[in-house]
């Protein structure tokens, strides 16, 4: 992250002088709010876990990836690599054969499709993330494509998690240095916005939508 413009303020830590871009079933972008405007509708309390008994048993744990299902990987990969700038670091094709019925419980919801492909993306930025070492880092996005959805006229699309029924998952978020420039570029590239920087009170945050409608703030 280049030149993240962070300031250390006691009242609204992390909310001044930075930009945040989120992408759940939509993308959410944030940039340099003023503390004053935020105070009108927010109260903040920052908590640091007080000396949690961190056990050696979890010392190796990493939050490696988040998985989202996508309808058409061609469209999604174009969006995540060319629009967002992520790198495709690995892909895995899986075939669930009927002879391996025990496997059909995993993943539990992919049963109606015989084959699916997993795509693993990350912001590499010179870290040289590969298929081999991708388990050793955080910030991986896994996209699951159940073969056939891209051409099935009866496929209704996936839920983005932000409305009932199906509410639960919210978004994935991407931080950026300059949210105004990022949004201007997304406008040029025809990205769908759920909330532009100019919408509402929170001028430092934007939400955009990925091809499946997942939100990215």
């Amino acid at each position: 992250m280049q030149a993240f413009r962070l300031t250390r303020t006691a009242r609204v830590p992390g909310y001044n002088r930075h930009s945040l871009l989120r992408i759940p079933s939509h993308l959410f972008l944030r940039s340099s709010p003023t503390q004053t405007s935020l105070r009108t509708h927010r109260t903040f309390s920052t908590t640091r876990t007080p000396a949690m008994p961190r056990t050696p048993e979890t010392a190796s744990f990493k939050f490696n990836h988040t998985m989202l299902r996508v309808k058409d990987p061609k469209v999604s990969l174009k969006f995540y690599t060319e629009v967002l700038g992520m790198d495709l670091v690995a892909s895995t094709h899986l075939c669930l054969l009927s002879a391996l019925e025990p496997l059909l419980t995993f993943p539990p919801a992919e049963n109606e499709f015989e084959t699916f492909t997993l795509y693993f993306l990350a912001f590499d930025h010179g870290t040289n993330t590969t298929a081999e070492n991708r388990f050793t880092r955080e910030g991986i996005l896994e996209l699951t494509h159940n073969h056939g959805t891209e051409s099935d006229p009866n496929f209704q699309g996936y839920a983005n998690g932000n409305s009932d029924p199906g509410r639960g998952f919210g978004h994935i978020a991407i931080t950026v240095d300059d949210v105004e420039a990022a949004c201007a570029r997304f406008e040029r590239l025809g990205v769908r916005f759920q909330k532009r920087l100019t919408d509402g009170k929170m001028k430092h945050i934007a939400f955009i939508l990925d091809p499946d409608g997942y939100v990215l703030p």
Copy 2:
């Protein structure tokens, strides 16, 4: 990550000698599969994006966090900190006042509750992640608590994304050094399993469930 037992194999990169623990609406754990057993039902192709025209405009982008809604933060925070070993690095309380109606479009699905709290967790592991610098790293988990759900007898719970209606989000995944030890510990702690290591053919993967039913493999 301590002593990640990675080997570099051309055929199944990343699938030998490592452990993976996933946690979407359930947790998924993976450990040391043998290449032979996997070949019976999988074909692999590893893709490295060929010289993507990475633009300087996305050079600062980071996959900062994933947001999930939770019913009861007391239960969820206990799970994510004490069971999984994550650190609570920040929390934010928000109040949407009716005088600020434009804000009600964001977040779009939180309108029925006047107030909500956002909790930000991460595996710190000595990196000293704070509320101030949490935007400069990846691997953050945001838990959203819409006040009232924890005590509302009519609240039906959140969808975990893995069944219709509401299918879309799949899971969040955690990598671990020793998946057998991790699973044994989870058993002792009473964690719900969706798939134990001994279930099915994939003996290196387990899925556990968080308090809201999100899957963690």
